[in-house]
Symmetry: C2
DNA sequence: AAGTGGTCTAGACCACCTC
DNA sequence: AGGTGGTCTAGACCACTTC
């Protein structure tokens, strides 16, 4: 399949989610897992570190790896999850309306954000997300056209990410996210059902590829009463 | 000092922040760093992985480790940073008002959240954060008294985290965070200067210790116009 | 072909917890 | 003392980039 340690990580993660290892109990020791998966200790440790990073276990020196009760209904709204994955995971009925799709010279503000050279072009996508029949989220995407030369309404209605990673073979590796609360614009009022809300939650995302090039800037504008952000944060070593 | 790989991580992180390695340029190769720090490759790689996790570099196979331009003014509001660290980093004038401090039997809702046995006690702390002269944030802390038997107004005015980690020797290891937008309560209106805002950003934090015990539940209630959350998310391997 | 990072191994020693 | 996880080493082989 893939790398050994990722296989082991997935195996154990599945076992935890299937309840084979109950929250509060301990995983087998690293030595036992070595035998069980017929591999070296460092490889087991890489898999366990992944499990710890993703909130499945907590390693305690001298004792063992305790299974946490995370992942229950704490679907990771965090990180780089796309709307489509999210909506599917939450089992809600959702629809995507592509309001606008254009290949164009970017506005100065966007050009600067995406670090596009003068004269360069971008894809601009405007989509409204409907959840359970209500127009809740306005997604404004700006994509560096160096990497995406072709984009259609159909792709935008499905999942841009799937197209980028699946069909184009690009790899998204990290993102910088900012969450603030603002007053709705005229556009927000026109395209969303705000129901009188005087605020809107704006999630700004800078998405980078494998090779550290800035690839996409996204503004996701949420009706405040339907917004929820969940995060699992492990303490990192000091500055 | 400490562990070798953490020392190396800090050294390189400092060098990046001091501009010794400019954004867009590459770090020396792992082999060179091995010689430079007189250590093994795996140890160098641990340090580099820390740098990548924290947004300092991006490793590219076959090419090298590219220095990112993060950390500029992207103070990590993310993760487990305390208000005090934050306020100091942002260089803003801030004050903390301790509105209430009590050792008591928890309300049922809090008891359930903190998983306190019937009859157990907690510390409840109510604090208002003032930034540049305005009362912006209402912090409601609930601490498991098993770990903190003593708490004073002075400690709460300074930094509870510093007391817990510095004086008590406990180690905070991870937290589950939730961000939602709600309508202000009567208490919010009384204690904060809401200036007519009809929404309030609520950050709920479950804080865990080293040994995976749930230690603290915190509600941080922010005036929406002054709220900003920044996050750096690296893509993790699939579910 | 040479240089880079990615994975995997086998073994050593240490720090911490439990008995 | 024995078991556990934490760190570190030296070396091997692979995948990718660059020339």
């Amino acid at each position: 399949m893939q790398n050994k340690y990722i296989e082991i990580y997935k195996r154990i993660a599945d076992q935890i989610q299937d309840g084979l290892y109950a929250p509060g109990t301990k995983l087998p020791s690293e030595h036992e897992l070595m035998n069980q998966f017929d591999t070296s200790r460092e490889t087991i440790r890489k898999a366990l570190n992944l499990l710890a990073q993703n909130g499945f276990i907590q390693k305690i020196q001298g004792k063992g790896s305790v299974v946490l009760d995370a992942q229950k209904f704490d679907f990771p709204v965090s990180g780089l999850v796309s709307f489509r994955e999210l909506a599917e995971k939450m089992g809600q009925r959702f629809r995507t309306h592509v309001e606008d799709l254009a290949y164009e010279k970017p506005a100065e503000e966007i050009r600067a954000k995406l670090q596009i050279p003068a004269g360069g072009h971008i894809w601009r996508v405007l989509r409204v997300r409907e959840i359970d029949g209500e127009r809740i989220i306005l997604d404004k995407d700006y994509l560096n056209s160096t990497y995406v030369d072709h984009l259609t309404k159909e792709i935008c209605e499905d999942s841009i990410y799937q197209y980028i990673e699946g069909d184009l073979g690009l790899t998204i590796s990290f993102a910088k996210k900012e969450i603030v609360v603002e007053e709705p614009t005229e556009e927000d009022r026109r395209l969303l059902e705000l129901n009188g809300h005087m605020n809107i939650v704006v999630v700004r995302n800078f998405v980078y590829l494998d090779d550290a090039t800035l690839f996409q800037y996204t503004e996701s504008r949420h009706r405040p009463d339907k917004f929820r952000f969940v995060d699992f944060a492990r303490r990192s070593h000091g500055k």
